[in-house]
């Protein structure tokens, strides 16, 4: 059974989630090959029986489906009745209460989001919003993320995203909430709205500015070619997008992934949504001062001992230069 742990030396939370008794020898090699064959892929049509029963489905032609959401077979957090906090001396342990789902992009085994139709990506975004809303009713935070390619943490290559609902507001999110709230108290403005204004006026880190969304390389990028997709309109919660915004967001995401691939090839990357905690998260006034964004983290460098030891990242590619390269990419298709 998964559990949440906190030790006395560092403020971090860790999820210990044993996967059916893996033995030391199972750790000797990297878990996943770069590209897996369609045969036996649990996310391909015809193999639906290999996943737990689906929680969301967009029906497709001929009794098939266009998007499926299923519980993760090896959940990091799961459906336990209660947290049952158990402090044992200096240690704190909670039951691994939460949820862990997989959003399967499409029946297509081989194509990432930028290779799917605009309509299909809109269906994916709609599925994200739907599941974030549903899980948000029961948990403090819901993390949407995507691991693409060998080296990204992905263990299955059929394109998919994942959603983990947590029984607490995660430390990384809490840090952002605190920074945004402090900015609000000092300046009376949303920190991201202020940032957007500055970035548009300097332009050096702007990759793309469409009517509704801004794509930029963050000033404090941890990784080469790190990107952020931010709504230009003030909005604290990804879930609150209307269908028109969702369509514009889907188009921006497709274009951005296409840019990355044109420039760098089919590299491993992570997507992490940073959005509002749920009402259970309890931050008064939050809709006024918080602002969601989607982070795209190419995994071209690997954090090493310095990063683990200090929490400071070394990035060999200045974000201003990365933005220039990404702007200059000419899009085909």
């Amino acid at each position: 059974m998964p559990e949440l742990r906190k030790g006395p030396l560092v403020g971090r939370w860790v999820i210990v989630a044993p996967e059916r008794g893996r033995r030391p020898s199972d750790f000797r090699v990297e878990a996943a090959p770069e590209v897996q064959p369609k045969e036996g892929c649990p996310f391909c049509p015809g193999n639906e029986h290999l996943t737990p029963p689906e929680v969301y489905r967009v029906p497709g032609p001929g009794g098939g489906w266009r998007v499926r959401v299923v519980p993760n077979k090896f959940p990091a957090l799961s459906d336990y009745p209660a947290l049952d906090p158990a402090p044992q001396g200096p240690f704190l342990r909670l039951n691994g209460v939460g949820a862990h789902e997989v959003v399967i992009d499409s029946p297509d085994h081989a194509h990432d989001l930028d290779g799917l139709s605009q309509e299909q990506v809109e269906l994916v975004v709609e599925a994200w919003v739907h599941r974030l809303r549903a899980l948000g009713e029961r948990f403090h935070y819901v993390q949407l993320f995507r691991n693409h390619g060998g080296g990204s943490g992905a263990s299955l290559s059929h394109p998919h995203s994942q959603i983990i609902a947590t029984p607490l507001v995660p430390p990384e999110v809490e840090g952002r909430l605190k920074a945004a709230l402090e900015h609000w108290r000092r300046h009376g403005t949303c920190v991201v709205c202020t940032l957007i204004e500055k970035e548009l006026s300097s332009g050096v880190r702007v990759v793309e500015a469409s009517e509704r969304f801004l794509v930029l390389t963050p000033y404090d990028s941890r990784f080469p070619f790190e990107l952020s997709i931010v709504p230009r309109f003030h909005s604290h919660d990804f879930r609150s997008m209307n269908p028109k915004d969702r369509a514009a967001f889907a188009a921006t995401l497709r274009r951005t992934l296409a840019r990355i691939k044109r420039l760098l090839g089919d590299i491993p990357y992570n997507l992490c949504l940073q959005t509002s905690p749920t009402p259970k998260g309890d931050w008064p006034g939050l809709p006024v001062w918080y602002h969601w964004q989607l982070e795209l983290l190419p995994r071209l460098t690997r954090p090493g001992g310095f990063e683990w030891g200090t929490g400071i990242y070394i990035n060999p590619m200045p974000p201003e230069e990365a933005a220039r390269h990404l702007r200059e990419v000419v899009r085909g298709g």
Copy 2:
């Protein structure tokens, strides 16, 4: 020129350190092959001219050397006269003031620390202590770390460690200092001394307990088979070890690496030293309530979108089980 940056959305510091104008195509593939040939290795005897002039040397037979310390050719932080803080709107920028050195274990291109003699590893530990002391006179914190093997962040395979001196106490270290100080204020004891007592009495996470050092799998391990080497005597600073303790520490480190390799093979790993900031770091009373340790992080799993988004790590190997496997390893030699 490297610079330190802080943005308005997250509390993090990032070092932007362009390496001689790498272009996007240089990022298309992983930087380093798993094992590099001896030919052209800048850390091998005969190629000393390929590194910057050395700052420390243990002479060896025939005019050679046994340990060398040299400045990093592509430093993450370097010798600038001043930080020159430059707030630009919501952004804070500092010159990349600091130092970055490489400690070359030995002339041996192929053998990791556990494959070297006890005497040689003692010389390496002495070099660490010496450089940590020297750099500690000028900077707020000095981070000793080691990236071993492909996937660890290492870019050269000749066994070596690195030292980066920073002009501020890094956030990860600050978090630990705060936790230790809070424990001291509440309980009047060193949090690590308390932890050692608990761990010895339960025994479930103890891998090895010798007279001077304890090797354990932390309760809140982020990675499978994560380990910590902690002095059983109270000591806030790695630099303060006497020669007898240094010898015992070297022996513990060799044995621990040998255990890992017996169980898991020659896997990628990081070492991170967590020790006291320098007097410039300014934490009153610190010698009484802080306690150093060396962390060993096997890199068998890769952080993905969930970890980057939340700061919460998912570990599929319970530390109690990891400790049992590591205890059971029978050591040869």
